[in-house]
Symmetry: C2
């Protein structure tokens, strides 16, 4: 049997366009002599459509996409992730399901059973769980067992902790499936590509059953699907490995016993880089922006965003605006100009001094001094930069990229309505130490300075007061980032983080900043953050602003 | 049997303070000769604690609050909403439960079964559902059946549509409960106080069983619990009716057969008003703000916010900042000054003209003209006002209240990082026509002009360009608001709204604005909105920015 991975990139609600892309992939599969082409979860509508799945009009027309796809399957079978209306009065309005189509006929649906409700997932909000047990279909003598995403992710022999008691994938295997098809919308985060490969190979080998695991690709607001689909044979060998972060339509003969040696290239830093580039490109493209704008400070964060944006949409479409104030260091312009030359971006200088003087004078603000109490006057500089960038965004129709990193945003070291302004927080899930690593990796691969080393090596500073450095207010990033990583990504308690070898004062100091209501207040007004971890700031982390939860010593 | 409603106002995570308030209410109940005191859902921790319910440290200490409460129950029984750790390895870390305590002993827990996942609710994200069937307890010969919130809300004889197949409240009644205790955290929205009374009375009468229905009170970010708890006897008569929007600890003899004639006073406009006042007061108080600031434009929205804020925290704590530009109408200052006198607020004038001239000149912006293409120059005025207000907020430690109404925010008629700035969007769930109604009601009750009639009657204008009026860009609010109401609150499709008598061009024009990605982008960066409807902008309405969902004609 020949099976095709159809790892495609769709847009929420682009019903006609997504349908056309699906039909084109079916045609490609046919040309490749395929017997079965497998698409990701909810590929007709877009998995990240949220409350649109309860919209009366969308529910009423939920079957429309398949009507066009079914006739395109002459001579081939296809598994297509979609929704179907719930015929019952009680419960959610739709099922999240896989449609099995063969030779111009709809053979049936398999509904998703386990509905994830954690991190960025809210499936029970929209989908009725599987009520029926049908999961196995005979296609030309092969018994195909089908599961939708989470239904594959609860293998008791693989996970130490599980959220659910049942395992639908085990059930289809027990029913005698010759082949398991798993359709997914599994977002990228660090380590996940490797994890998926291990999980699929483990189950294939343990159960002596080939598995076709197809994942979505593409950026959708902050959520980035990496693809990296795969086919494992009954020995647990990966015999087809799709590329990550791009579309991929290829076919493999299930019985050929020839592992796919391509694998996923590059380390985790490269994957993060690729995720961010895809995230910027898709957010711009899917929302109709051809050009972007960003404020270039001479620091590493905005420099990295400029480099990523140049890669994502072309340097000629990236406008870097330098906005010096009296507190800007000498290098802020010269270093930026070197970066701009290296990248080939457009640039512009818009000093904020005149407007700052007018407002500081009018409002009688205390002028910033080294270590002084001048929050209002410091913030006003950042906010004037935000005003200028938004004016350019408005006047030229450019998407504004915001440049703050996760370390800053986590502890509230940012100015709301200032440097947080933008359509997309490119580095909002990237710790400062990761920012440096990605920048060095860019230079390393290029074999030359793309991002000037002076920018990478300079002491981090907001430059809102004389001789101001981040480390006047915060612990060094090298000490703070591991604490943030354990707290956010591993969800360790303060005591557990201290037990892992971190200084108690540092841990409580950092975490009390993280959980301060004034900082949660800022985080709740950020633009979507490109997500690369299991606990990003934004839709995957839900906390009240108003709270007095204690961090116990 | 004498039963006490303990409708109290707690703060997320204020474990000690909440515990002290609970113990104080138990003492009050004892003084009132009560046999059973009933508290709302999750009163120990705060129902709106979100991901804190999965925090390792909070889970580890989840039993702490009860340890102090149990000894305080000598001579009385108490039902207290709390969490308890899930002893199993699989599943969520805690149950959302009611603890039944009597005479210094914990008799047991009843876990919540039905976990709501719609609107602002995400219960399955945090809570493991009830696995055991115990719901009935004998207290001094009375069989008390206990259910937690949603478990009471699925009566098949009351609701036309249901989300769940089972009905835990029916089960406890079938087990022979002499009394049903329902503990709730049921947020206010329009019509809900009446609905709850009907729902409770219906079940009590149909099943010939008295019901004690206790609800939380208090504001928590955007979510406002109204209280309005009640006790219905076995005839379905309400024999104790708690006040709405304030704490209430009172006791009733279950068998006395004497309906409580107090009811809930005032119409829905008054309830909305009270909800907003409580929402402002609690957000300020629970976050440690004694003073607020807002921009007063001379229009109705900011005028109403000033009036509500003055009522919530005292006029002497409200600073109104007038920020005229060359496009401000003559009345913008004089009308505002009259309002400020009527309210007794503080005020200040900070023109934006100088800073605007500097930036407009520096950026070569096209100056605003009547009906011209001058978006950048219009927005910059709103953003400079935002900069000034945030500078005052920073310098004086004042909470900034934002003043945009739901009609504007729904169709994107607002400036992000400008008039949307703030800690709390007071009117973010209030349609423009409701804004007018609340303002008139304030004057009507006062028997004099608190909000000058000139402000109520003036033609809505953003005053960002010469002779600019909202109705140059939008349909009249009288036509638009009913469409928004049907779309948001009733979740009708465009076709259904048209069938209800609204003009098709108007309906599609308005809804295409609502669903435009550029407007969802703005809405996702708003501060928390005080919620008074079943579909507010904010955490109860989840949509991707990036989408191409069609609105089919």
């Amino acid at each position: 049997m020949r099976v095709t991975i159809a790892q495609i990139n769709t847009t929420n609600g682009e019903i006609e366009g997504n349908g056309a892309r699906i039909i084109a992939a079916i045609e490609e599969a046919k040309e490749q002599g395929s017997d079965l082409v497998v698409f990701p979860e909810l590929v007709t509508h877009g998995y990240t459509s949220q409350d649109w799945f309860q919209d009366a009009d969308i529910v009423e027309h939920s079957a429309d996409p398949l009507e066009r796809i079914i006739p395109a399957t002459d001579g081939i079978a296809a598994v297509v992730g979609t929704i179907r209306a719930n015929p019952n009065k009680d419960g959610r309005k739709v099922f999240n399901c896989a449609a099995l189509i063969s030779n111009g006929k709809l053979l049936g649906y398999v509904d998703k059973t386990l509905l994830p409700e954690y991190d960025v997932f809210d499936d029970p909000r929209w989908f009725e769980p599987n009520h029926s047990s049908r999961r196995l279909f005979d296609v030309n003598g092969t018994k195909i067992g089908i599961v939708v995403c989470e239904d594959f992710w609860n293998d008791k022999t693989f996970w130490k902790e599980r959220l659910y008691a049942s395992d639908p994938a085990d059930e289809v295997i027990a029913m005698g499936a010759d082949l398991v098809v798993s359709i997914n919308a599994s977002p990228y985060n660090k380590g996940k590509i490797k994890l998926r490969c291990e999980m699929v190979a483990h189950r294939a080998k343990a159960n002596k059953v080939p598995i076709v695991f197809v994942n979505l690709v593409g950026g959708n607001d902050g959520i980035i699907f990496d693809g990296a689909s795969l086919v494992a044979d009954e020995e647990g060998d990966i015999i087809l490995q799709a590329a990550a972060f791009e579309e991929f339509v290829e076919t493999v003969e299930l019985d050929r016993r020839k592992p796919d040696a391509r694998g996923i290239t590059g380390g985790e830093i490269r994957s993060i880089h690729n995720a961010l580039v895809l995230g910027i490109r898709d957010y711009a493209r899917k929302n109709g922006f051809r050009k972007v704008v960003l404020g270039l400070s001479g620091g590493i964060d905005s420099s990295l965003v400029a480099a990523l944006a140049a890669e994502a949409i072309g340097p000629e479409n990236v406008l870097c605006v330098m906005m010096p104030s009296p507190f800007s260091s000498e290098g802020s312009i010269t270093d930026s100009e070197e970066l701009i030359r290296n990248l080939g971006c457009e640039s512009r200088i818009e000093p904020i001094s005149d407007a700052f003087d007018v407002l500081a004078d009018q409002l009688n603000l205390l002028m910033p001094t080294k270590g002084g109490e001048s929050l209002a006057a410091e913030n006003i500089q950042s906010r004037l930069r935000g005003v200028i960038l938004m004016a350019i965004s408005n006047a030229e129709g450019r998407l504004l990229l915001s440049t703050g990193n996760k370390s800053e945003l986590a502890v509230g070291y940012c100015t709301l309505y200032g440097d947080t302004n933008g359509g997309l927080a490119v580095l909002g899930d990237i710790l400062k130490t990761e920012v440096w690593a990605i920048a060095r990796d860019i230079n390393g691969r290029a074999g030359r300075e793309i991002i000037p080393t002076r920018i990478i090596d300079k002491k981090p500073s907001a430059e809102l007061a004389p001789n101001q450095f981040d480390q006047d207010s915060l612990p060094p990033y090298e000490l703070m980032d591991p604490v943030l990583q354990l707290y956010f990504e591993q969800k360790l308690s303060p005591k557990e983080i201290i037990a892992a070898g971190h200084d108690a004062d540092l841990v409580y100091g950092v975490l009390n900043k993280v959980e301060h209501p004034a900082n949660e207040f800022k985080r709740q007004q950020l633009p979507p953050t490109l997500i690369v971890s299991k606990n990003a700031i934004g839709i995957g982390r839900r906390r009240p602003i108003t709270h007095k939860y204690p961090r116990r010593r």
